[in-house]
Symmetry: C2
Subunit: 446 residues, 2 copies
C-alpha cells in the first residue's frame, strides 16, 4: 500500500543474503526515511550505532557468515524497551533526563544476536497507558492513512513506521490492546504472543499481570519469520510455510460484548470468516456469558499495578505527566487493596470458565477494535447517530486476551483504496502462536 523499504522479511532477507542489497545500503535508506518521517513515529534515531553495525553485518556476509533471516535487517523498538546506550523515555517528560540504558532488554538482545540492526526508538503512548497513541511528551503519533487521525496505541510509532514503509519490523508491547490495536488502525500485522512467551525484562512495566511483548510487521509471513527468530533464541529461524486451515475449528464470539460499533468492521470480519470457511475451516458460534465480569477486572488490575509504579513520581512531579495520564492514574491512589485482590481472584476464576466455554475451537476470529482510526484528540465519535467513546472501543475486544494470556494477532482486512484500515483479530484458544499465524496467513493470501 505504501512504497517504502522492502517490507517483506522474506524478500528483504533474500536480497540481503544474496548480497543484492547490502545491510549498509538498507540501513542508510531506512535511516533516511525515518529522519524524514512525518507521522511523529520516531523518538530517537541511532544513526551512528546502526551504521556501524550494518558494516559489521555486511562484512560477515562478505565472509559467508549468515545469522539467519534477520541478518542485516533494520528494526525499530518502542521507546519502552531498553536499548544499550540510548535513553528509555516511555513517551513521558518524567523520563526526559533518563540516562542511557546500560544494557539491551533481553528481547532486543535476541534480535541483535539474530543479526537485526536497531535503528530507532519509536513513539509510545505515555507509559503505554492508553490505546490511542495521541498522548505523549513528543505529541501525537499520526496515522499514515490519514495524518489527522490516531495511530492507535500504545505501540503507536511501531505501527506507524511499519505502515509508512519505513521499517520491516518493530517491537511493541501489549497490555490490553497496544500491539493489536495500532496494527489494526494502521493496517499492519500485530502479534501478541501468549503471556510469558517473550521476556518483559528491560521493558518499562505497565502491569505485571497483563504485559506482553509483541511485534509488528507489514504482512503475516514477516510476522512468522520474526516470531520464529524471537521464540527460539539461539536458533537460526526460518519462517513457516503456512499449510492452510482445512479442518481448523474457528469460533465466532456472539453476544453484545463482541459487537463492533462500526458496521464496516462487522462486514469485514464476516467476509473474513467466509473466506476461511471457503478454504476449509469449520466455523462455529461461541458464547462467553462471563465476558462482562471478566473484562471488568482489567481496570482494577492494571490500574493498581500502574499506580504502584507511578505513585512517587505522581506526587513529586505531577506536572511532568500529560494531563490525560495524570487524570487516569491519580484516582487510583484511593483504590483499596481489597478491590485489587478481588479482581485477581475473579480473573483466575473466570479464565478457566471462559476457556471451557470456548469448547473445542482452535482459534477465535473477531474484530480487533470496535472503531477505525478516529481523529486525534477526540474522545467520542459518532457512528450511525450514536456517540461512541473511543478508548473502550479500542480496548474492549483485545483486553480479554491479556487477561487469559492467549496468543492473539491482528491482520488487516482487504482495504479499498482511500478507506481506513480494519483489523481482523485471530486468537489462539487451543492453537499456539504458529496456529494463529497459519489462520492469519490464510486471510493474508485469500
Amino acid at each position: 500500500m505504501v512504497v517504502g523499504v522492502i517490507s517483506s522479511l522474506r524478500e528483504l532477507g533474500m536480497a540481503l543474503r544474496s548480497r543484492a542489497l547490502s545491510p549498509v545500503e538498507h540501513v542508510a535508506e531506512v535511516l533516511q526515511r525515518l529522519a524524514a518521517d512525518t507521522h511523529n513515529a520516531v523518538v530517537t534515531l541511532d544513526v551512528e550505532g546502526a551504521s556501524a553495525q550494518a558494516s559489521v553485518l555486511a562484512d560477515e556476509l562478505a565472509r559467508g557468515q549468515w545469522r539467519g533471516p534477520l541478518h542485516g535487517v533494520a528494526v525499530g523498538v518502542k521507546d519502552l524497551f531498553d536499548v544499550a546506550g540510548l535513553p528509555t523515555r516511555a513517551g513521558s517528560d518524567v523520563l526526559r533526563d533518563a540516562p542511557p540504558a546500560g544494557a539491551d532488554a533481553p528481547v532486543v538482545a535476541r534480535l541483535r544476536k539474530a543479526g537485526a540492526i536497531v535503528v530507532a526508538k519509536l513513539h509510545t503512548h505515555e507509559f503505554a497507558y492508553g490505546p490511542t497513541g495521541d498522548v505523549a511528551a513528543t505529541g501525537p503519533a499520526r496515522n499514515p492513512h490519514d495524518p489527522t487521525r490516531i495511530t492507535g496505541g500504545s505501540s503507536s510509532g511501531s505501527a506507524a513506521a511499519v505502515a509508512a514503509g519505513h521499517l520491516p519490523l518493530a517491537l511493541g508491547t501489549d497490555t490490553g490492546a497496544s500491539v493489536r490495536t495500532p496494527a489494526a488502525l494502521c493496517g499492519v500485522v500485530g502479534l501478541k504472543p501468549a503471556f510469558g512467551r517473550l521476556p518483559t525484562d528491560g521493558v518499562f512495566p505497565l502491569s505485571e499481570t497483563c504485559d506482553h511483548v509483541g511485534l509488528l510487521t507489514a504482512d503475516v509471513h514477516s510476522a512468522s519469520v520474526a516470531w520464529d527468530v524471537l521464540s527460539r533464541p539461539g536458533g537460526i529461524g526460518g519462517g513457516i510455510q503456512p499449510p492452510g486451515v482445512a479442518g481448523v475449528r474457528i469460533g465466532i464470539p456472539v453476544g453484545d460484548y463482541w459487537q463492533a460499533a462500526d458496521p464496516e468492521i462487522t462486514a469485514a470480519v464476516a467476509a473474513a470468516v467466509e473466506r476461511l470457511r471457503a478454504v476449509g475451516a469449520h466455523v462455529v458460534e461461541v458464547r462467553a456469558p462471563m465476558i462482562d465480569e471478566l473484562a471488568a477486572t482489567y481496570g482494577p488490575i492494571v490500574g493498581a499495578e500502574a499506580y504502584a509504579t507511578h505513585a512517587v513520581w505522581l506526587s513529586e512531579r505531577p506536572q511532568d505527566y500529560q494531563a490525560v495520564t495524570r487524570d487516569r492514574l491519580g484516582p487510583m491512589a484511593g483504590q483499596p487493596a481489597r478491590e485489587y485482590v478481588e479482581a485477581l481472584r475473579t480473573m483466575r476464576r473466570l479464565v478457566p470458565a471462559f476457556r471451557e466455554a470456548m469448547g473445542e475451537v482452535d482459534v477465535l476470529v473477531l474484530p480487533t477494535t470496535r472503531l477505525r482510526a478516529s481523529p486525534i484528540g477526540v474522545p467520542t465519535v459518532e457512528i450511525c447517530g450514536v456517540g461512541v467513546p473511543v478508548r473502550p472501543a479500542l480496548l474492549g475486544l483485545t483486553l480479554p486476551f491479556n487477561l487469559t494470556g492467549w496468543p492473539a494477532l491482528s491482520v488487516p482486512a482487504p482495504l479499498p483504496a482511500g478507506e481506513l484500515p480494519i483489523g481482523i483479530q485471530i486468537v489462539g484458544v487451543r492453537a499456539e502462536e504458529r496456529g494463529v499465524l497459519r489462520v492469519a496467513a490464510a486471510l493474508d493470501r485469500s
Copy 2:
C-alpha cells in the same frame, strides 16, 4: 512421651497389615481417646462414618487387599479442610451454621483413597489467622505438656491430638507458621511441603500467596510415610529409609533477625547442629541481609488477601468474629492497593536474592520459634527481664519460608522430662521434602 495409640505409622501399619490390630479396634480406640480429650483439640467426631469405613477397610484386609501404609489408619484434619458430610467451621461462629461439605478436599480424598480413615475435624485458630491457637469459637486449645499453655497455631488441634497420643497423623495448614509452630510447641513433627506441592482446593483460604497444606506426626519416619503417600497420589507409598546426612551442607542463619528469645531454644539448636556435624554434615554460617525487608512483606500480603475474603462478613456480622480476629482484620479495610502491589513486588524481587545469599547449602537449621509455649491468652511474656510479644515470636522464624515457598519441617529437640518442647526447624534450600526429612531423621535418631 505420652502413652497413646500406636503413634508410629511404621508400627501401626505393620500391626494393621499383619492383622495383629484391626482397623475397627484401632478406630474405636482413637474415637474413645478423642471423645475423652481434655485439650479442646476436637471440633467434630465422625463416629458413624469412621466406624463404617473401618469395617470396609478391615474387610479388604481380610480379603488380602492392602492399599498401602495408611490402610486402616485413623487421621484427623484441621477444621479448615472440607470433609464430605461434615461442616467446615474454621474455628469461627461466622460458620456456626455451615452446611455439611459436599465433597472432600482433594488432599483429604487422597488420604481416603490410600486407606486412611477420617475420624475427626480438629481445632483451629479462628480462620487460621494467628499462631497461638487460643482464639476460636470453641475456646483455646490446650497444650498436652501443660494445659495452661497454648498449643501454638493455627493447626492447634492437629498438634495437640498428635502430641496427646490420640492420633498418628493429622492434616494442617501453614500460611506463616501454622503447621511448624504448633508442632514445635507441642513436641511433634510438622512438615510444610514446598508451595503448591499439595493442593489447597477445598481448604478455607487465608492467603493464596502463602497458604500451604502440611501434616503433623509423632516422629520423622511417620512424616516420611505420610508425605510419600500424599505426594504420590495413586501410588502405594512406602516411606523412606533415611540414608544419613554425610556430606549434606547445612546453613546456619546468623544475624539479629534469626535470634531466639529463649536461651534454651538457642542451646537446643546449637546442640542439634553439633549432632548433625558429628554424623558428617558440613556446617556453614549464612547471612541474609534482606530478611527484614522480605519479612515485612508478609503482613501486607496476607492481610490484604485475608481481608478481601472476610470484608462482607466483617461488615454484616462483626459480632460473630472473636474480638482479636476482628481487631486484626478490621484495619485492613483501609489498606491501599499500592501497598499490596508493592509488597508482592518486593517479595518477588527478594526471594531470588535470599536464595542467592544461601549459596550452596542444602538445608538451613534454625529454631522454629523464638519462644516455647506461653500461657493461654497472654500477649507478652518476660524472658531474662525483657518483655517479648508472643505473636511475632511465634511467626518470625517460620514465615520467611512461606514467602519463599521452600519446604520446611519442625522436629522436636530432645526433651528433659517436665520441660516444654522446643522445635528445630529444617528448611530445604536445594533440598526438596525428602532431603529435609532425611536431615530431620538424623536428628530424630541421634
